[in-house]
Symmetry: C2
Subunit: 420 residues, 2 copies
């Protein structure tokens, strides 16, 4: 953001300050200065509305601005920067001047950890921010809170297939719906899905992948999900499409999967499984796969083990956790499952989320008819922050293809995934 486009309404620039000028600086500004250092000095100017002061990192031209409404909000930020920022933005006591995604990108870029190990303080923080447990009951609660917000709400800004996971853009110009269909095809191709294959899906959302596998590939699918709203919607869709003979939607936990299948697939459920259950998930997968079975798990991930952003885990995805690839291998290694292929498509999630955010903003009127302004802003921050997280490499998206140990049936090369 250049000087000309800097937002109006700020206090007298003459009062701009830095930690180098202690005499004229309020206690609040000094505390804020410490917070900025703790954040890694992002190129952002903070404005204290009630004192008129501006605080920015030393020697850096600010590229974005944050306005803080009152002392109470600042204290919330100082207590817990991540949670405080999200909550203050949601309730309107913190305002962003300029491009929200860009500003959040600055914050992510400046706060990268580096090198191995972690301090006691970090580990304590991680423990305090640990995700809620995903017991059979806990998972139902956690999933209900996010996915049962109302199918019509999600329909406002998702594409027609109602896919709520990272799409796959053959080119950056593809439409959202094209990219979601391409994602389903990409998954089916990786799995070499063939007519007559039996599939079990863990966490099926509104059911689009199961329908796609049945209608386009001739598979027979049993799809598990513990969101009642989603299952209801998916069943109706299958019926409307005349596919209810080939796709069965089961309102139950993945831990209760029984039977043997040619294919195990799970797109966007692992984030809700919880690290403590990875070996158990692996056992479910191992037991579900036939000798020549193939499996694919698609999940948000991280470059290193790290708790989810505290605000996201508290306000958006209770109980969620995005594993590192090393953590994901804990699903496979106890059961000698062979990892065949891993693809990191994080930039596709940035593209997906940009489309969701644009559609969400276009549908604001209808969103406001359903939810209050706190929710409206909270959801915007969630989508915008996620774009920034994927664009800066703070978050990853892993698709992991695997088989049981001795399955020699996959083609020698991956060219089969890229038909032309």
């Amino acid at each position: 953001m250049d000087a000309a486009s800097r937002p109006q309404g700020f206090a007298d620039p003459g009062k701009a300050t830095s930690a180098r000028q202690p005499p004229r600086v309020s206690l609040e500004a000094r505390l804020l200065r410490r917070l900025i250092v703790g954040l890694g000095e992002p190129p952002i100017e903070f404005m204290l509305d009630w004192t008129g002061e501006r605080v920015a990192p030393k020697g850096v031209a600010p590229l974005g601005s944050v306005r803080i409404a009152d002392r109470q909000t600042l204290l919330g930020l100082l207590r817990n920067p991540r949670l405080g920022f999200g909550d203050a933005y949601s309730d309107g006591h913190l305002e962003i001047e300029g491009d929200l995604v860009q500003l959040l990108g600055f914050v992510y870029r400046s706060s990268k950890p580096s090198g191995p190990g972690s301090s006691l303080g970090q580990r304590l923080g991680e423990w305090l921010n640990r995700p809620r447990r995903n017991t059979l009951h806990g998972s139902r609660e956690n999933i209900h809170r996010h996915y049962d917000l109302g199918n019509d709400f999600y329909a406002l800004w998702l594409d027609r297939t109602m896919s709520y996971t990272c799409a796959y853009f053959p080119t950056a110009e593809a439409t959202l719906e094209q990219a979601q269909v391409a994602k389903m095809d990409h998954v089916c191709r990786k799995l070499r899905l063939r007519a007559g294959d039996s599939v079990v899906e863990a966490g099926c959302g509104w059911g689009s992948l199961a329908l796609h596998m049945a209608s386009r590939y001739g598979a027979k699918v049993r799809a598990f999900n513990i969101s009642g709203e989603q299952i209801r919607y998916a069943r109706q869709r299958a019926k409307d499409l005349g596919l209810d003979g080939r796709v069965e939607y089961i309102e139950d936990d993945y831990r209760n999967i029984t039977g043997r299948y040619d294919v195990f697939v799970s797109v966007g459920m692992l984030e809700h499984v919880g690290r403590e259950n990875y070996a158990q998930l692996g056992r479910v997968v191992r037991n579900a796969l036939s000798a020549e079975g193939r499996g694919l798990i698609h999940s948000i991930g991280r470059n290193r083990p790290q708790p989810l952003h505290a605000w996201i885990e508290r306000r958006i995805f209770p109980g969620a956790y995005a594993p590192s690839l090393g953590e994901m291998t804990q699903i496979f290694e106890p059961w000698d499952l062979s990892v065949i292929d891993v693809e990191n498509i994080r930039l596709h999630y940035a593209l997906t989320l940009r489309q969701w955010l644009a559609r969400y903003e276009s549908a604001l009127e209808q969103v406001r008819a359903r939810f209050d302004e706190f929710f409206v802003r909270m959801w915007r921050l969630y989508l915008a922050g996620s774009i920034a997280a994927f664009e800066t490499g703070t978050m990853q998206l892993f698709q992991v293809l695997f088989t049981i140990q001795e399955n020699n049936q996959l083609p020698l090369t991956r060219e089969y995934m890229y038909p032309r």
Copy 2:
């Protein structure tokens, strides 16, 4: 192997026995029976030459035969089955009737572990079989013992490019040399190698990849290796090809790499790094990569953490270890390196090794001119056992492509790896 093709010269079939017939069974046969159970009862018949007894798993038609020459050899097998088998085969006191690769495949298939956790006994065994340390000095010793056996020995059975790592077969019918060139191209494509790129290679073997990168892609390569024999050979090749201005071979440890590069590449060195040095390797990689740098590590791997086969580590690759994918992530995660792509090409290694074994058998006369019969048989067992290990999924081959955290320059899809 059917009855008709069963090898001749066995003792009187009337003396065939099993653990169910204790009165007529020698102590040796009973001990061997316990060993067979411990091995998971592979469909193999064991013949004790000095008693004329045959021992086979109960209720299974044997598909292969092993003849044990004397009591001493049996005791060696009982003490340490893996080490004992390899040593007894090498010195000729253990003979295989029929197809060696097939028989070793039966052994691998029957001895699969399953489920998480490991007993104290297993862990003790792993500690006793732990690989030799890879300190700067230890690595030199370990590498010298394998790679400095003589360039002319390796030239007998490697292809013309002198590539001693897993090849990449575009089709199963490709020649070994075609597949080795295809492997180099596959690696270069994954890395999006372009003219003018600077490359650092860790563990360059006889130098073929570095030459390929310079001659076909216009890269400038610094290649590290601590095998004096290999470096000498590689330098001569570069000179002969007029590439010594673009490729520099450095006789030094990867830990002494300095400078920044567009590309870090390491094909078949990680097996010699040692788990204890993975985070250190990650630091070397992180420091060597420019902001838009790409890296690739190609290594033999496992489905779960497990020591290398004891005989292989003792007699063939001192100090070697094949990591699970989870263990490999310990290279990347401390430094926020982003894993972009993982490909498991273990079946390509089985194809590669089949070609090496066939060429080795064709060159036996020349091998015998250099080495004694113990070496000749040891090397055959190493190649045959490796085929069996990769075909049964006991061993994996991972190619891991990575970048520093925020490198948004790679193409959206992997189609660029598959030009047509």
